[in-house]
């Protein structure tokens, strides 16, 4: 499998990274080089192997359903690029 310019543009769109024409063109061989190298995994026989998600056996814990945090609005907003009236402010999304 290899990527072309249209695919690179599509991935950049999914990743929400603005990419100029020149940057996208440069990424085509770069990503293909890495993907080509990764594809050696195709040689490995993985029939019947369960995918590994957790490396060290652990169990998911349950805790009491109680509020343990909150009431820190100002701290949450402290690093916001733009905070207004106690909220995060963003460009208008609905016309």
């Amino acid at each position: 499998m290899s990527v072309d310019l249209a695919t690179v543009r599509k991935i950049a769109g999914l990743a929400r990274i603005a990419t100029s024409e020149a940057e996208a063109e440069a990424l085509v061989p770069e990503l293909n080089n890495i993907l080509g190298w990764i594809e050696q995994l195709g040689e490995v026989d993985t029939d019947g192997v369960e995918p590994l998600a957790a490396v060290i056996p652990n169990h998911l814990r349950l805790r009491d359903d109680v509020v343990t945090d909150g009431g820190i609005r100002d701290a949450v907003l402290k690093n916001a690029p733009q905070a207004e009236h106690g909220f995060f402010a963003v460009p208008k999304v609905i016309e």
């Binding site: 990274i17 603005a18 770069e30 080089n33 995994l41 490396v55 998911l60 690093n79 690029p81 460009p91």
Partner: protein, 493 residues
Amino acid sequence: MTDLTDLGIAAIRDGVAAGTFSAREVADSFIASVEKGRPLNAWLVETPEHAIAAAEAADRARTQGELLPLSGVPLGIKDLFATKGVETTAASGILKGFKPEYESTITSKLFGAGAGMLGKLNMDQFAMGSSNETSAFGNVISPWRRNDGGNAALAPGGSSGGSSTAVAARMAPGVTGTDTGGSIRQPAAFTGISGIKPTYGRCSRWGVVAFASSLDQAGPMARDVRDCAIMLEAMSGFDPKDATSLDIAVPQWEKALSGDLKGKKVGVPKEYRVDGMPAEIEALWQQGIQFLKDAGAEIVEVSLPHTKYALPTYYIIAPAEASSNLARYDGVRYGLRDLPDGANLQEMYAATRADGFGAEVKRRIMIGTYVLSAGFYDAYYTKAQKVRALIARDFDQAWEKCDLLLTPTAPSAAFALGEKSADPIAMYLNDVFTVPSSLAGLPAMSVPAGLDAQGLPLGLQIIGKALDEQGVLNASLAIEERAGFTARPGRWW
């Protein structure tokens, strides 16, 4: 009088307790060394006031007989750890100016144990790199130089390159690092210091800027094995705020340190003899085998057949997790915002991320997005998770024959800055010996074991069974006791 910056963590702790010197004197010495070391670019933020406050508290605690495990010890903190009120950027432009409103669990524990903070350490951006060259705030320069008189600027390793440099250049007696695929062990090897990545789940990830969550582990880097054991004890422990934190007691690793390996079997994996490995690395490995035999261990050859697939597996799983974790940097809640004139919300996201992320971070996010995208998920991501299972199984099978594994830490000594930065895959290959144990979540440590012909440090790696940090520390100590590694970089800065 001794230069206090020549002392490690145990010596500082014991000297402060005995009243040989004050914690304040120690802090002042390291603060001066940090200032003098600025040409190395290891620090992104200096926090002398924090180190002094902790030192004064330590001196008061001594008079009251209330010393804590790390009282009087000033540390460097990798910039991946959120520190309350102190800028934390992960060496990325996208977090420039970010001052967390909270303290990471690890730094809370260290400060709670009496340690002070000298500052925040430079690193590869979001911990993605093996040379510290992906930092948005400039390369860290290794204090080491080749003995050829060429004075080429060398890589301190990565991603914990500011951390390795701070210890090697005597700017801090100990530092925190993080290791996703070798980011503690490879820089430790490159700079002639020790560093351990504990079992996945030992150290809380809460408040550590996330890269690849199923792999990320914090650990200490210091001058020797004992100092690493002391720091690791203070850093480890259950944290309900991290869903993958292990709810088990922290052993007293320092107390149980012993370089006597009688009755231990150490495996030497034949697949770690890679093509093009310098003869010096092979010779160092043989030397390490002799050291461990001398310490009483029995050496056995073992096979880890899927070793060659570890790197490609890692370069699917880590970017996939990164692409998901780094989705949070969107210019809305914290960090950089780039809002071009008339841009809508989607355009703001894209402009902010284009502006704030470095080239290697973007490359990995793109790879991760691709391997997780519709139609490719099974072929790449699920396949990689299956191979990861086989890599973990290789280790399980090796443990039927041995207790520990001995390998080189890295396939070469430190390279020059710029030497590998044009070829991502050449850079990735640096982690060929460290990535497999990361994928399996196992504890692993690098200790300095010798110098190459150019006078640069080389490290050996000990890998252990899950939760056997003691075994890893003890075998590392056995190497340390026999290697007699005392070389240090001449002070040219």
